[in-house]
Amino acid sequence: VNPFPVVVAVLGWICLGLDVGLRGPLSHTLWAAPSFVVPLAAFIALCAAPVPALWSALLLGLALDLLTPVGGGSLTVAGPHALGLFLAGQFVLASRGLVIRRHPLTLAALSVAASLVMTIVVVTLFWARQMYSPIEGWSASAELGTGFLSALITGLAGLLMSIGLLPLSPVMGLPAPHLRRR
């Protein structure tokens, strides 16, 4: 039995819980909250085969969409975070040949970049939606500002998560990075 989907599901569940639980308190304290899902998706994209990594990013992003209502909590849009995280995963896949995969700073740096990619995609999609289905109180500049700040904090989350994730990579069923040569 391939443990990869189970491990990703469990870690995704924990990271989504952390995202939702910390979003409120930290947003009020730091103006933005870190994402734990983005470093997880980046880590998977860093280690796993391309297709499973992209599926993981897509599904984790979809879960983020469902847990991030907009417009005063009255509207849930499926897709923006999913597509954002998918492109972020694609970015990490393209970059992983150029980085030292087992270094904690790699995950931190790629988490920041992945978070920025996701933010840009999400804001672009919502900005496009504003033209025909406006959401009251939504501002592209404010979302970009918060997203960029969140990306920086996500880098710290990625650094902390790398301590736990990197040693776990063989247990998770992901191929050890040193065995994967492209």
Partner: protein, 287 residues
Amino acid sequence: MAHHPHHQTSRGALIVGVIVLLVLAVLPARLGTWVNHLGGAASMLVAPVASPIYRIARVVSPAPSSPSEEVAVLRDEIERWKALYLKAIVDKEEAERKFEALSKGAYYTEPPQAQLLRPVIGADRDGLMVRAGSRDNVDTNCVATTVGVQIVGRVSRAQPRLCWVRLITEHGAGQIGGLIMTSESVRGPSCLLSPVAGGKLQGVVSTGAGIAPPAKGQVVRLADEKWPRSSQMLVVGVVDVVQTDSTGRSIVTVKPTLDLDRLGEVVIRVSPREPDTDKASTDGRGP
């Protein structure tokens, strides 16, 4: 390099998945309402992790822009209101008679159908996520308060097991009518308050002949026909700042007695739906 057929199928499914999500992402809001139900289910799914994390973070994280002096003042306020609340319980009958006598006229209070003390399991910029939903008869007509009498906000959306409470201090919550109490039992001028920065409300006071002007520290109670009757006369906050504009009108800044962003539990007051409030509440916004 030749690709395995299984990989090609998986890659094809991935492309289809991306296209489906792209369509969903650009779907107009009126066609995507069913996604809201999935959102509620997802929130319930992550609640076992999110809820304890939220509680810990709420305790550990320092209050935003709250110097220790302000925290001390707020704690004093809490104690003062607790004392008033306990005093009101002890002198219940006398206070009820007194309150009824004072309430004759424009406003009267009736008890809500039910009061549900429920934990806050999360929060975002849109408000508090509370573990009470349409299964408990919670709908957009319901008002959330603290365990005492401080109004927290109004339910903006209800799922079967969850609801979202939009705080009265949030931008977009709309205006709220208040009555400034010149003393514990004497009504003063009315005011129409709007949310401003810093979790406060601000509005112009309607003063008239024989009505004392507002003063700092006075209690502001809800007096707004667009809110359920059972919520009238609950506490909106206390007058924090009184200013006078160029035309001589008083402008008050009202601060809730508690930091509404940081509540661990709230009381959802389930009220019978009133015809005149339906319109105001169905759009998920305050009055």
